[in-house]
């Protein structure tokens, strides 16, 4: 079986083949049935979703124009502000915070396109992790194997899409928090260029590195939702660029010439055979040539240190007042970050333009770079360590080893799932130059049409 895509749902609603209310009711029923096993949702907005769906149906009945995502259910990582609800950001500490007074910009834009918000999704506390084994809300289970992690920190967002509960979710990516769970759950993830999508109303983690992005099961859905959310936002100083819609020209990009490089060195060091095989298959399909990116290990190290430093400063008051209320896995890392001298952050910032320019030099010869999204398929829930390159390393800290250098310099990436039905998913990063999301999405579409990448429904859902 296959799950309906966002664009298919929107077309059916627009054509009157199905009502938005019926779609919402089916979605809510699927969540009720599946979420106890998955633990992807931390809140479900039954009444609000049905009311929003009724408004779409009323607009259609009245002959008013419908948005491009009319009636499409979506859900958001629980660090997005939802009007009237407390923004948890996966924490215990924020459970007593005042409710948000307005929706985050990206939620408002999806709603304006007709999409229907149905719930909020599990995550690593304060987005600091790659596993979504949340000490307060419990772990999110991977729909392809419930004994395994979904990845993180946007694990609920990836699992909800993978299990077919919704066709579209929002997440955030500071060091890999969209690309890692997309890889482990077998769905598409888009982390746009830093500053492309507004972060207004998204609970921050590391201001210098935070991106907002999305998950879907097809490239067309990813592009349509991305287009609906683009555009400058005065409430986010980084988001000052006019919208550059991609969906209408995606086929032309996919059919056009693409020069592709496949990253070696750091980006294959310690990778499991599944990750290397996925990379080789995608590289072969795109006639990629090997390229090396000097400085990737340093970029990852800089992102690692900057994350601890900035994250700790953001949470300084709570680290002083109530450190034991943090998720233990997050607390120890934040407290260590609080002890770092300021010069650590200065160094991490100073290396950033150097690495950006090194990547830009590669993009003089290629349009796209490929790298594994994760070193391995999903580890087990509760698995603390894994062996990488002969060394025992922390799962939580290492799953983003190949994603961190790329987000450090803010490049757009599509994480695309290799087409391997019946096996644990694994994804590949399709990396484009800054502001060229169209190239990453076009390459992903070419691969999807060739059957090289695909999001498969897991058994049992």
């Amino acid at each position: 079986m296959s799950f309906p895509t966002a664009l298919r749902i929107a077309a059916q609603v627009r054509d009157g083949d199905v009502s938005a209310r019926a779609v919402a009711e089916q979605t809510l029923a699927r969540i009720t049935a599946a979420n106890p096993a998955l633990n992807a949702f931390t809140a479900v907005f039954d009444a609000g979703a049905l009311a929003a769906a009724d408004r779409v149906d009323a607009d259609r009945a009245a002959g008013r124009p419908l948005g491009p995502l009319a009636g499409v259910p979506f859900a958001v990582k629980n660090l997005f502000d939802v009007e009237g609800l407390t923004t948890l950001a996966g924490s215990k500490i924020r459970r007593g915070a005042a409710p948000a007074t307005a929706d985050a910009t990206l939620i408002a834009r999806l709603k304006a396109a007709g999409a229907v918000l149905v719930g909020a999704l599990n995550m690593d506390e304060f987005a600091y992790g790659f596993s979504t084994e949340n000490a307060h809300d419990g772990p999110t289970h991977n729909p392809h194997d419930l004994s395994r992690i979904a990845g993180g920190s946007s694990g609920g967002s990836a699992a909800a899409v993978a299990a077919g509960l919704v066709p579209l979710t929002l997440g955030s990516d500071t060091n890999g928090s969209i690309r890692v769970p997309a890889s482990l759950c077998g769905v598409y993830g888009l982390k746009p260029t830093l500053g492309r999508l507004s972060r207004q109303g998204v609970y921050p983690f590391v201001h210098s590195l935070d991106h907002a992005g999305l998950f879907a099961r097809t490239v067309d859905d990813l592009a349509a939702a991305y287009d609906a959310m683009q555009g400058s936002d005065a409430a986010d100083a980084l988001c000052d660029r006019a919208a550059e819609p991609v969906a209408a020209r995606l086929r032309a990009v996919a059919d056009g010439p693409l020069r592709v490089g496949v990253l070696g060195g750091w980006f294959t060091q310690g990778a499991f055979p599944e990750a290397l095989a996925a990379l080789a298959e995608v590289a072969g399909a795109l006639d990629a040539c090997p390229v090396d990116l000097p400085g990737a290990a340093t970029a990852r190290a800089a992102a690692f240190a900057l994350t601890a430093y900035e994250g700790a400063r953001l949470h300084a008051a709570d680290l002083r007042a109530r450190p034991l209320d943090f998720d233990p896995a997050v607390r120890d890392r934040l407290l260590a970050g609080a002890l770092l001298p300021d010069a650590v952050a200065e160094a991490a910032h100073r290396y950033r333009p150097l690495f950006r320019d090194a990547v830009a030099a590669l993009f003089r010869d290629v349009d796209i770079l490929l790298a594994p999204a994760t070193p391995c398929p999903a580890p087990g829930i509760g698995q603390a360590t894994m062996t990488m390159g002969g060394e025992e390393v922390s799962v939580r800290k290492t799953l983003g080893a190949y994603t961190q250098p790329i987000s450090y310099v803010g490049l757009p990436v599509v994480a695309a799932p290799l087409n391997r039905p019946g096996q644990l998913p694994i994804g590949v990063q399709i990396i484009a130059p800054a502001w060229r999301e169209d190239l990453a999405l076009g390459a992903a579409l070419r691969l999807e049409r060739a059957g090289v990448v695909a999001a498969h429904p897991p058994g049992g859902f």
Binding site: A308, A336, A338
Partner: protein
Amino acid sequence: MSSRDLETFLATPDAAIAAYGQARAEAVGLALPATVQAGVFDNLALLRTQTALVAAALAAPLATGADGGPTPPFRP
């Protein structure tokens, strides 16, 4: 904060990372509960290793630039 602070941090051996961490906690007014200290210091040691990579790559700029004013805003 100066490049001397960075040099001190990077020069701290594993055996002294706990003492360094305690001193830093006092300096920044942070009380570290006894039950979390081992985990915190493990993470601090890892951060020192990562920072050393960055510092090595920036050896020349750091010598002249760590105290040289704010880094300009980054654009991708």
